[in-house]
Subunit: 225 residues, 2 copies
DNA sequence: TTCATATCGAGAAACATTTCTCGTTATTAT
DNA sequence: ATAATAACGAGAAATGTTTCTCGATATGAA
């Protein structure tokens, strides 16, 4: 349908992935500034606090369509709104979560998601002893019902928090249910039709970066020979 | 000497952050191949399964010092060892964890860390009702004891899994205890001396990337103001 | 043995991201 | 009112990452 749409004065640009990853950091930082009663902030200031280059901050924020004032900076409330709109946090996306182990429960219990426009509306598990119990006000349903329910409820987003071995099967059930985006916390490569978007969230990735940096910097305990 | 580097036969190169983030993915993938009895694998094959460019896979793996065989590929066991050595996963790093909420418990219960060379040796909390209780075989200690204990046990790595508001205070205690690397799961910008390495793990970052991609691709439910 | 081919390794080219530079503009002080 | 200045915006330059190209080499088939 119509893709090109002049949305008034707001220039919606495409953001690179590094920029997208930084936007939530700015958002949280700006929230704390707002709570302290601050009204405006400059890129220089943000850059100082977040240890980022001021120009980079400026370019990052520019993708949201915000306009700043020379010598002053940006209005914090405006900036927050722009980031939220740009990331789609102002309108809620409903999601299904599968896997109610430690991580799944942590995700279910994370109230913060609502502020990020994400609402987990149902939780699933394959463990019979868990089905029917309640975690963080969510009744656990059998994973067999996922595909059907997703279709009926027009759910677009699925969250996978099961062990790696079970991930592929769950992903396929999600695909069958018409889910178009998957947030995958299992350390497994999902093989799915290309039209389904997969965002892998691998704890080990962050750990690898940290290990390498520590190892390089401090000589952690690199074995000789 | 024409070259100033003579570090033995294994060429330890520097890896870019994107490469570092992909290495654990390769590692897990190779593990599953090994379990299925496979012996060798080529970059082309890996690239197909992981939806990555074969050349990129080759360059990524090259940083670990592995050498492949034309027409054959790499020996999987060798490759696994190289990745593990490169990331320092073959020797254990001891870490302290602070915050035993949902996320903290998920991290404490995650057995996989041991395979990644990470061992959480103590868990801390500020909640008096939690102190003294046991989570995943870890006795919860009062956070006041962290700095002292870290110094006595020569702990270098700290994991922060507390609410954003408490993160700065915890980070400072870690710095006081001589910890040199912090894995921060709180959505907060820590202000610390520059010699302390901080790896921020922000759930919202992954969500932001996913939201943007879904929004752009499928027109999730873009508001018309 | 010799040929065809899949794959590696390394350097070049293309592309993406970050950092720099400079002209413009709103505020504050004189 | 005017000058000095802090900060924005946009384009250029520098840097980093990915993709392409090509020569070399091990394996399997003729």
């Amino acid at each position: 349908m119509t893709k090109e749409q002049t949305e008034g004065n707001k220039q919606e640009r495409v953001a690179s992935e590094p920029t997208l990853r930084r936007l939530p950091t700015y958002h949280h930082y700006l929230k704390t500034l707002a709570e302290r009663g601050r009204d405006v902030v400059s890129c220089t200031h943000i850059g100082n606090d977040l240890r980022l280059d001021p120009t980079q901050v400026r370019k990052d924020l520019a993708v949201t369509g915000i306009r700043g004032l020379p010598k002053v900076g940006y209005r914090i409330d405006q900036l927050l709104t722009c980031i939220e709109e740009f990331l789609g946090w102002n309108n809620t996306t409903e999601a299904f979560l599968v896997g109610t182990g430690h991580l799944g429960q942590a995700l279910l219990g994370y109230e913060g998601f609502k502020r990020y426009g994400l609402e987990i509306v149902a939780a699933f598990d394959s463990d019979e002893t868990k089905i029917g119990t309640t975690v963080a006000a969510h009744k656990i349903l059998p994973v067999e019902k996922l595909a059907n329910l997703a279709r009926r409820m027009k759910i677009r987003l699925g969250i996978i928090a099961v062990p790696a071995a079970a991930a592929q099967q769950v992903a396929e059930a999600m695909a069958e249910g018409g889910i178009t985006g998957i947030w995958n916390f299992a350390p497994a490569a999902l093989s799915l039709p290309p039209e389904i978007l997969v965002q892998n969230e691998n704890l080990a990735s962050g750990l690898a970066v940290l290990s390498a940096k520590i190892g390089r910097l401090a000589g952690l305990d690199i074995p000789r020979e």
